[in-house]
Amino acid sequence: MDPAELKRFERTFLPHMSAAYNLARWLTRSDQDAQDVVQEAYLRAVRFFGGFRGGNSKAWLLSIVRNAGYTWLQRSQAHGTTVSFDEQLHDVEDRSQGPEMELLQRATRQDLLAALEALPVEFRETLVLRELEGLSYKEIAEVGGLPIGTVMSRLARARRILGQVLSERGTKED
Protein backbone atom coordinates (compact mmCIF):
# COMPACT_ATOMS: atom_id res chain seq x y z
CA MET A 1 0.00 0.00 0.00
CA ASP A 2 1.42 3.38 -0.90
CA PRO A 3 1.63 6.12 1.74
CA ALA A 4 -1.19 8.18 0.21
CA GLU A 5 -3.50 5.18 0.31
CA LEU A 6 -2.49 4.51 3.91
CA LYS A 7 -3.23 8.11 4.83
CA ARG A 8 -6.66 7.74 3.26
CA PHE A 9 -7.22 4.56 5.26
CA GLU A 10 -6.21 6.27 8.49
CA ARG A 11 -8.34 9.33 7.77
CA THR A 12 -11.35 7.11 7.08
CA PHE A 13 -11.09 4.66 9.94
CA LEU A 14 -9.03 6.03 12.83
CA PRO A 15 -11.90 8.39 13.81
CA HIS A 16 -14.00 5.28 14.54
CA MET A 17 -11.48 3.97 17.07
CA SER A 18 -13.75 4.53 20.08
CA ALA A 19 -16.73 2.87 18.42
CA ALA A 20 -14.49 -0.09 17.52
CA TYR A 21 -13.15 -0.36 21.05
CA ASN A 22 -16.56 0.04 22.67
CA LEU A 23 -18.01 -2.80 20.60
CA ALA A 24 -14.96 -5.01 21.14
CA ARG A 25 -15.01 -4.25 24.87
CA TRP A 26 -18.65 -5.26 25.13
CA LEU A 27 -18.07 -8.40 23.07
CA THR A 28 -15.03 -9.60 24.99
CA ARG A 29 -15.82 -8.00 28.37
CA SER A 30 -12.13 -7.38 28.87
CA ASP A 31 -9.99 -4.33 28.22
CA GLN A 32 -6.87 -6.18 27.09
CA ASP A 33 -8.77 -8.56 24.81
CA ALA A 34 -10.76 -5.67 23.36
CA GLN A 35 -7.52 -3.87 22.48
CA ASP A 36 -6.23 -7.00 20.75
CA VAL A 37 -9.49 -7.42 18.87
CA VAL A 38 -9.42 -3.77 17.72
CA GLN A 39 -5.85 -4.11 16.50
CA GLU A 40 -6.68 -7.35 14.69
CA ALA A 41 -9.74 -5.68 13.13
CA TYR A 42 -7.75 -2.73 11.82
CA LEU A 43 -5.15 -5.09 10.37
CA ARG A 44 -7.91 -6.94 8.56
CA ALA A 45 -9.55 -3.69 7.51
CA VAL A 46 -6.37 -2.41 5.88
CA ARG A 47 -6.04 -5.70 3.99
CA PHE A 48 -9.64 -5.46 2.77
CA PHE A 49 -9.43 -1.72 2.13
CA GLY A 50 -9.24 -2.24 -1.62
CA GLY A 51 -12.74 -3.72 -1.45
CA PHE A 52 -14.18 -0.77 0.45
CA ARG A 53 -16.28 1.20 -2.03
CA GLY A 54 -16.98 4.19 0.17
CA GLY A 55 -20.31 4.40 1.95
CA ASN A 56 -20.79 3.85 5.65
CA SER A 57 -17.23 3.51 6.93
CA LYS A 58 -18.31 3.10 10.56
CA ALA A 59 -20.65 0.19 9.80
CA TRP A 60 -18.01 -1.33 7.55
CA LEU A 61 -15.34 -1.17 10.26
CA LEU A 62 -17.71 -2.38 13.00
CA SER A 63 -18.66 -5.44 10.97
CA ILE A 64 -14.95 -6.33 10.85
CA VAL A 65 -14.59 -5.67 14.59
CA ARG A 66 -17.58 -7.91 15.16
CA ASN A 67 -16.06 -10.72 13.10
CA ALA A 68 -12.74 -10.36 14.86
CA GLY A 69 -14.58 -10.36 18.18
CA TYR A 70 -16.48 -13.55 17.36
CA THR A 71 -13.30 -15.26 16.23
CA TRP A 72 -11.80 -14.31 19.56
CA LEU A 73 -14.89 -15.61 21.40
CA GLN A 74 -14.74 -18.93 19.58
CA ARG A 75 -11.10 -19.31 20.48
CA SER A 76 -11.78 -18.63 24.14
CA GLN A 77 -14.87 -20.82 24.00
CA ALA A 78 -12.50 -23.68 23.31
CA HIS A 79 -11.20 -22.91 26.79
CA GLY A 80 -14.77 -23.02 28.07
CA THR A 81 -15.40 -19.41 29.05
CA THR A 82 -18.51 -18.54 27.05
CA VAL A 83 -22.01 -19.86 27.08
CA SER A 84 -23.63 -21.20 23.95
CA PHE A 85 -26.43 -19.27 22.43
CA ASP A 86 -29.83 -20.37 21.24
CA GLU A 87 -32.38 -17.83 20.13
CA GLN A 88 -35.33 -20.04 21.11
CA LEU A 89 -33.82 -20.95 24.44
CA HIS A 90 -33.24 -17.34 25.30
CA ASP A 91 -36.68 -16.19 24.32
CA VAL A 92 -38.62 -14.82 27.22
CA GLU A 93 -42.00 -16.41 27.76
CA ASP A 94 -43.99 -13.56 29.12
CA ARG A 95 -43.79 -10.71 26.63
CA SER A 96 -45.62 -8.31 28.90
CA GLN A 97 -42.86 -8.37 31.50
CA GLY A 98 -41.06 -5.16 30.65
CA PRO A 99 -38.54 -3.79 33.12
CA GLU A 100 -40.35 -2.25 36.02
CA MET A 101 -40.05 1.49 36.10
CA GLU A 102 -39.25 1.75 39.76
CA LEU A 103 -36.53 -0.86 39.42
CA LEU A 104 -34.92 0.97 36.54
CA GLN A 105 -34.91 4.23 38.42
CA ARG A 106 -33.11 2.57 41.29
CA ALA A 107 -30.61 0.74 39.07
CA THR A 108 -27.08 2.03 39.50
CA ARG A 109 -24.49 2.17 36.76
CA GLN A 110 -22.95 -0.94 38.31
CA ASP A 111 -26.28 -2.81 38.07
CA LEU A 112 -26.69 -1.88 34.43
CA LEU A 113 -23.10 -2.78 33.55
CA ALA A 114 -23.47 -6.18 35.17
CA ALA A 115 -26.88 -6.82 33.59
CA LEU A 116 -25.68 -5.88 30.13
CA GLU A 117 -22.53 -7.99 30.50
CA ALA A 118 -24.66 -10.95 31.53
CA LEU A 119 -26.68 -10.86 28.30
CA PRO A 120 -25.94 -13.50 25.65
CA VAL A 121 -23.45 -11.96 23.26
CA GLU A 122 -25.83 -11.63 20.26
CA PHE A 123 -28.31 -9.65 22.33
CA ARG A 124 -25.58 -7.67 24.03
CA GLU A 125 -24.00 -6.52 20.78
CA THR A 126 -27.33 -5.52 19.24
CA LEU A 127 -28.26 -3.47 22.28
CA VAL A 128 -24.81 -1.87 22.46
CA LEU A 129 -24.92 -0.90 18.78
CA ARG A 130 -28.37 0.59 19.23
CA GLU A 131 -28.20 2.25 22.64
CA LEU A 132 -24.53 3.17 22.95
CA GLU A 133 -23.50 3.70 19.34
CA GLY A 134 -26.88 5.05 18.23
CA LEU A 135 -26.88 2.99 15.04
CA SER A 136 -30.09 2.66 13.02
CA TYR A 137 -31.70 -0.77 12.48
CA LYS A 138 -30.36 -0.70 8.95
CA GLU A 139 -26.80 -0.03 10.12
CA ILE A 140 -27.03 -2.75 12.77
CA ALA A 141 -28.25 -5.13 10.06
CA GLU A 142 -25.22 -4.13 7.98
CA VAL A 143 -22.78 -4.65 10.85
CA GLY A 144 -24.25 -8.01 11.84
CA GLY A 145 -25.04 -9.24 8.34
CA LEU A 146 -28.63 -9.82 9.52
CA PRO A 147 -32.10 -9.11 8.14
CA ILE A 148 -33.72 -6.05 9.72
CA GLY A 149 -36.49 -8.23 11.13
CA THR A 150 -33.92 -10.19 13.13
CA VAL A 151 -32.42 -6.92 14.39
CA MET A 152 -35.87 -5.88 15.60
CA SER A 153 -36.64 -9.11 17.39
CA ARG A 154 -33.17 -9.32 18.94
CA LEU A 155 -33.50 -5.80 20.26
CA ALA A 156 -36.92 -6.55 21.70
CA ARG A 157 -35.67 -9.72 23.37
CA ALA A 158 -32.50 -8.07 24.57
CA ARG A 159 -34.50 -5.38 26.31
CA ARG A 160 -36.81 -7.90 27.91
CA ILE A 161 -33.99 -10.08 29.17
CA LEU A 162 -32.18 -7.03 30.47
CA GLY A 163 -35.30 -6.03 32.39
CA GLN A 164 -35.57 -9.52 33.79
CA VAL A 165 -31.92 -9.66 34.86
CA LEU A 166 -32.30 -6.30 36.55
CA SER A 167 -35.41 -7.37 38.41
CA GLU A 168 -33.70 -10.58 39.58
CA ARG A 169 -30.80 -8.54 40.89
CA GLY A 170 -33.26 -6.14 42.49
CA THR A 171 -35.08 -8.95 44.25
CA LYS A 172 -31.84 -10.45 45.52
CA GLU A 173 -30.80 -7.16 47.06
CA ASP A 174 -34.15 -6.58 48.73
Binding site: L14, R95, P99, Y137, A156
Partner: protein, 250 residues
Protein backbone atom coordinates in the same frame (compact mmCIF):
# COMPACT_ATOMS: atom_id res chain seq x y z
CA UNK B 1 -50.90 -8.65 28.30
CA UNK B 2 -49.50 -6.53 25.50
CA UNK B 3 -50.64 -7.27 21.97
CA UNK B 4 -48.01 -9.77 20.77
CA UNK B 5 -47.94 -8.59 17.17
CA UNK B 6 -47.65 -4.95 18.16
CA UNK B 7 -44.85 -5.39 20.68
CA UNK B 8 -41.89 -5.19 18.27
CA UNK B 9 -43.58 -2.36 16.40
CA UNK B 10 -43.89 -0.33 19.56
CA UNK B 11 -40.16 -0.57 20.10
CA UNK B 12 -39.49 0.35 16.49
CA UNK B 13 -41.84 3.28 16.99
CA UNK B 14 -39.96 4.41 20.11
CA UNK B 15 -36.65 3.98 18.27
CA UNK B 16 -37.88 6.32 15.55
CA UNK B 17 -37.65 3.59 12.93
CA UNK B 18 -41.22 3.61 11.61
CA UNK B 19 -42.48 5.58 8.65
CA UNK B 20 -45.01 8.31 9.31
CA UNK B 21 -48.06 6.22 8.43
CA UNK B 22 -47.11 3.35 10.73
CA UNK B 23 -46.14 5.79 13.49
CA UNK B 24 -49.57 7.38 13.38
CA UNK B 25 -51.20 3.97 13.47
CA UNK B 26 -49.17 3.00 16.54
CA UNK B 27 -50.00 6.32 18.20
CA UNK B 28 -53.71 5.66 17.66
CA UNK B 29 -53.30 2.16 19.05
CA UNK B 30 -51.37 3.38 22.09
CA UNK B 31 -54.18 5.72 22.99
CA UNK B 32 -56.54 2.75 23.33
CA UNK B 33 -54.28 -0.03 24.60
CA UNK B 34 -53.03 0.30 28.17
CA UNK B 35 -50.76 -2.72 27.92
CA UNK B 36 -48.93 -1.41 24.90
CA UNK B 37 -48.67 2.00 26.53
CA UNK B 38 -46.99 0.29 29.50
CA UNK B 39 -44.57 -1.47 27.15
CA UNK B 40 -43.68 1.91 25.68
CA UNK B 41 -43.14 3.40 29.14
CA UNK B 42 -40.87 0.54 30.14
CA UNK B 43 -38.92 0.85 26.93
CA UNK B 44 -38.39 4.57 27.47
CA UNK B 45 -37.35 4.06 31.07
CA UNK B 46 -34.80 1.45 30.02
CA UNK B 47 -33.42 3.68 27.31
CA UNK B 48 -33.04 6.62 29.62
CA UNK B 49 -31.38 4.44 32.28
CA UNK B 50 -28.92 3.06 29.69
CA UNK B 51 -28.37 6.50 28.28
CA UNK B 52 -27.50 8.17 31.56
CA UNK B 53 -25.41 5.37 33.06
CA UNK B 54 -22.35 6.15 30.89
CA UNK B 55 -21.82 2.56 29.87
CA UNK B 56 -19.75 3.61 26.88
CA UNK B 57 -16.18 2.33 26.90
CA UNK B 58 -13.91 4.94 25.39
CA UNK B 59 -10.77 3.69 23.71
CA UNK B 60 -7.67 3.93 25.91
CA UNK B 61 -5.43 6.83 24.93
CA UNK B 62 -2.54 4.76 23.62
CA UNK B 63 -4.66 2.39 21.53
CA UNK B 64 -4.74 4.64 18.49
CA UNK B 65 -0.95 4.90 18.22
CA UNK B 66 -0.59 1.19 18.90
CA UNK B 67 -3.01 0.35 16.06
CA UNK B 68 -1.35 2.83 13.71
CA UNK B 69 2.04 1.33 14.34
CA UNK B 70 0.73 -2.20 13.79
CA UNK B 71 -0.97 -1.22 10.54
CA UNK B 72 2.11 0.53 9.24
CA UNK B 73 4.30 -2.40 10.21
CA UNK B 74 2.02 -4.84 8.41
CA UNK B 75 1.79 -2.64 5.34
CA UNK B 76 5.56 -2.08 5.44
CA UNK B 77 5.15 1.49 4.35
CA UNK B 78 8.27 2.66 6.08
CA UNK B 79 9.98 -0.67 6.38
CA UNK B 80 9.95 -1.15 2.60
CA UNK B 81 13.07 0.92 2.17
CA UNK B 82 16.15 0.44 4.38
CA UNK B 83 16.40 4.22 4.63
CA UNK B 84 13.34 4.26 6.80
CA UNK B 85 14.30 1.52 9.23
CA UNK B 86 15.08 2.73 12.75
CA UNK B 87 18.71 1.62 12.44
CA UNK B 88 19.17 4.05 9.58
CA UNK B 89 17.40 6.88 11.28
CA UNK B 90 20.60 8.53 12.51
CA UNK B 91 22.08 8.47 9.03
CA UNK B 92 18.82 9.44 7.38
CA UNK B 93 17.88 12.25 9.75
CA UNK B 94 19.58 15.05 7.76
CA UNK B 95 18.02 13.70 4.58
CA UNK B 96 14.62 13.55 6.21
CA UNK B 97 14.88 17.11 7.47
CA UNK B 98 15.86 18.25 3.97
CA UNK B 99 12.88 16.43 2.57
CA UNK B 100 10.61 18.05 5.15
CA UNK B 101 12.08 21.46 4.37
CA UNK B 102 11.60 20.91 0.65
CA UNK B 103 8.09 19.69 1.22
CA UNK B 104 7.20 22.72 3.29
CA UNK B 105 8.59 25.02 0.57
CA UNK B 106 6.47 23.22 -1.98
CA UNK B 107 3.47 23.55 0.29
CA UNK B 108 4.05 27.27 0.72
CA UNK B 109 4.42 27.83 -3.00
CA UNK B 110 1.27 25.82 -3.59
CA UNK B 111 -0.79 28.02 -1.29
CA UNK B 112 -3.54 29.67 -3.33
CA UNK B 113 -2.48 33.05 -4.65
CA UNK B 114 -4.66 36.12 -4.16
CA UNK B 115 -5.63 35.68 -7.83
CA UNK B 116 -6.88 32.14 -7.16
CA UNK B 117 -8.74 33.31 -4.11
CA UNK B 118 -10.45 36.08 -6.07
CA UNK B 119 -11.41 33.64 -8.82
CA UNK B 120 -12.88 31.27 -6.24
CA UNK B 121 -14.74 34.15 -4.65
CA UNK B 122 -16.23 35.21 -7.99
CA UNK B 123 -17.39 31.70 -8.81
CA UNK B 124 -18.87 31.34 -5.32
CA UNK B 125 -20.73 34.64 -5.74
CA UNK B 126 -22.08 33.40 -9.07
CA UNK B 127 -23.26 30.10 -7.61
CA UNK B 128 -24.81 31.86 -4.62
CA UNK B 129 -26.70 34.21 -6.91
CA UNK B 130 -28.28 31.23 -8.66
CA UNK B 131 -29.66 29.91 -5.39
CA UNK B 132 -33.24 30.76 -4.52
CA UNK B 133 -34.36 34.32 -5.13
CA UNK B 134 -30.99 35.99 -4.89
CA UNK B 135 -30.28 36.65 -8.55
CA UNK B 136 -31.63 40.16 -8.97
CA UNK B 137 -32.29 43.00 -6.55
CA UNK B 138 -33.82 44.95 -9.40
CA UNK B 139 -34.99 42.86 -12.33
CA UNK B 140 -35.23 44.79 -15.56
CA UNK B 141 -34.22 44.33 -19.16
CA UNK B 142 -33.94 48.11 -19.56
CA UNK B 143 -30.41 49.46 -19.12
CA UNK B 144 -31.87 52.87 -18.28
CA UNK B 145 -33.65 51.35 -15.27
CA UNK B 146 -30.82 49.15 -14.06
CA UNK B 147 -28.10 51.79 -14.12
CA UNK B 148 -29.86 54.40 -11.92
CA UNK B 149 -30.83 51.63 -9.51
CA UNK B 150 -27.19 51.46 -8.40
CA UNK B 151 -27.12 55.18 -7.55
CA UNK B 152 -26.63 55.74 -3.86
CA UNK B 153 -26.00 52.06 -3.23
CA UNK B 154 -22.44 51.99 -4.45
CA UNK B 155 -19.89 54.76 -4.81
CA UNK B 156 -19.30 54.33 -8.54
CA UNK B 157 -21.41 54.19 -11.67
CA UNK B 158 -21.09 50.97 -13.63
CA UNK B 159 -21.60 50.96 -17.36
CA UNK B 160 -24.78 49.02 -18.17
CA UNK B 161 -25.03 47.84 -21.75
CA UNK B 162 -27.99 46.34 -23.51
CA UNK B 163 -26.64 43.40 -25.49
CA UNK B 164 -29.95 41.87 -26.59
CA UNK B 165 -29.02 42.36 -30.23
CA UNK B 166 -25.85 40.32 -29.66
CA UNK B 167 -27.87 37.55 -28.07
CA UNK B 168 -27.18 38.41 -24.43
CA UNK B 169 -30.37 39.62 -22.78
CA UNK B 170 -30.00 41.85 -19.75
CA UNK B 171 -32.28 40.56 -17.00
CA UNK B 172 -31.38 42.74 -14.05
CA UNK B 173 -28.90 44.05 -11.53
CA UNK B 174 -27.88 43.21 -8.00
CA UNK B 175 -25.54 44.43 -5.32
CA UNK B 176 -22.92 41.91 -4.31
CA UNK B 177 -19.76 41.84 -2.27
CA UNK B 178 -16.39 40.82 -3.70
CA UNK B 179 -12.74 41.43 -3.02
CA UNK B 180 -13.67 43.11 0.29
CA UNK B 181 -15.97 45.72 -1.25
CA UNK B 182 -19.52 46.16 -2.57
CA UNK B 183 -19.72 45.57 -6.31
CA UNK B 184 -22.31 45.91 -9.04
CA UNK B 185 -23.53 42.66 -10.54
CA UNK B 186 -25.32 42.65 -13.89
CA UNK B 187 -27.13 39.51 -14.93
CA UNK B 188 -27.33 38.51 -18.57
CA UNK B 189 -28.89 35.47 -20.11
CA UNK B 190 -27.91 33.46 -23.18
CA UNK B 191 -30.39 30.69 -23.92
CA UNK B 192 -30.68 28.90 -20.54
CA UNK B 193 -27.30 30.10 -19.33
CA UNK B 194 -26.98 32.94 -16.84
CA UNK B 195 -23.97 35.21 -16.77
CA UNK B 196 -22.96 37.26 -13.77
CA UNK B 197 -20.96 40.34 -14.73
CA UNK B 198 -19.27 41.89 -11.71
CA UNK B 199 -18.05 45.49 -12.02
CA UNK B 200 -16.04 47.52 -9.51
CA UNK B 201 -13.34 50.19 -9.58
CA UNK B 202 -9.72 49.13 -10.00
CA UNK B 203 -8.03 50.61 -6.94
CA UNK B 204 -4.59 50.82 -8.48
CA UNK B 205 -5.97 51.88 -11.84
CA UNK B 206 -3.30 49.90 -13.65
CA UNK B 207 -4.26 48.02 -16.80
CA UNK B 208 -4.17 44.29 -16.29
CA UNK B 209 -4.15 41.54 -18.85
CA UNK B 210 -7.35 39.56 -19.24
CA UNK B 211 -7.50 36.34 -17.24
CA UNK B 212 -9.41 33.32 -18.43
CA UNK B 213 -9.94 30.40 -16.17
CA UNK B 214 -12.21 27.49 -15.51
CA UNK B 215 -13.20 26.62 -11.98
CA UNK B 216 -15.60 23.93 -10.73
CA UNK B 217 -17.14 23.75 -14.21
CA UNK B 218 -17.70 27.48 -14.54
CA UNK B 219 -15.87 29.68 -17.03
CA UNK B 220 -14.54 32.96 -15.82
CA UNK B 221 -13.02 35.94 -17.65
CA UNK B 222 -11.61 38.91 -15.79
CA UNK B 223 -10.32 42.10 -17.34
CA UNK B 224 -9.72 45.75 -16.56
CA UNK B 225 -10.94 48.62 -18.67
CA UNK B 226 -11.04 52.37 -18.11
CA UNK B 227 -10.23 52.07 -14.43
CA UNK B 228 -12.86 49.44 -13.76
CA UNK B 229 -12.52 45.77 -13.11
CA UNK B 230 -14.85 43.34 -14.83
CA UNK B 231 -15.46 39.68 -14.15
CA UNK B 232 -17.83 37.58 -16.23
CA UNK B 233 -18.70 34.14 -14.91
CA UNK B 234 -21.06 31.54 -16.31
CA UNK B 235 -21.60 27.91 -17.16
CA UNK B 236 -21.70 29.13 -20.76
CA UNK B 237 -18.90 27.76 -22.95
CA UNK B 238 -15.73 29.79 -23.14
CA UNK B 239 -16.12 30.77 -26.80
CA UNK B 240 -19.50 32.40 -26.24
CA UNK B 241 -18.36 33.96 -22.99
CA UNK B 242 -15.48 35.54 -24.94
CA UNK B 243 -17.91 36.97 -27.48
CA UNK B 244 -19.88 38.38 -24.55
CA UNK B 245 -16.73 40.08 -23.32
CA UNK B 246 -16.00 41.47 -26.79
CA UNK B 247 -19.56 42.76 -27.16
CA UNK B 248 -19.12 44.62 -23.87
CA UNK B 249 -15.86 46.19 -24.99
CA UNK B 250 -17.25 47.54 -28.25
Amino acid sequence: MACPEKSDLIEAYADGELDLGSSLEIERHLADCKDCAAVLEGHRALRSALGTASLYHDAPAQLSSRVRAAVRKQEKVFAASPFFGWRWLAVAAPVISLVILGWSLVTVSRMPSSEDLLNQEIVSAHVRSLMAAHLTDFPSSDQHTVKPAFNGRIDFSPEVKDLASEGFALIGGRLDYLDRRPVAALIYQRRKHLINLFIYPAEDGAGERAVETSLRGYNLIRWTRAGMRYAAVSDLNLVELRSFQQALQE
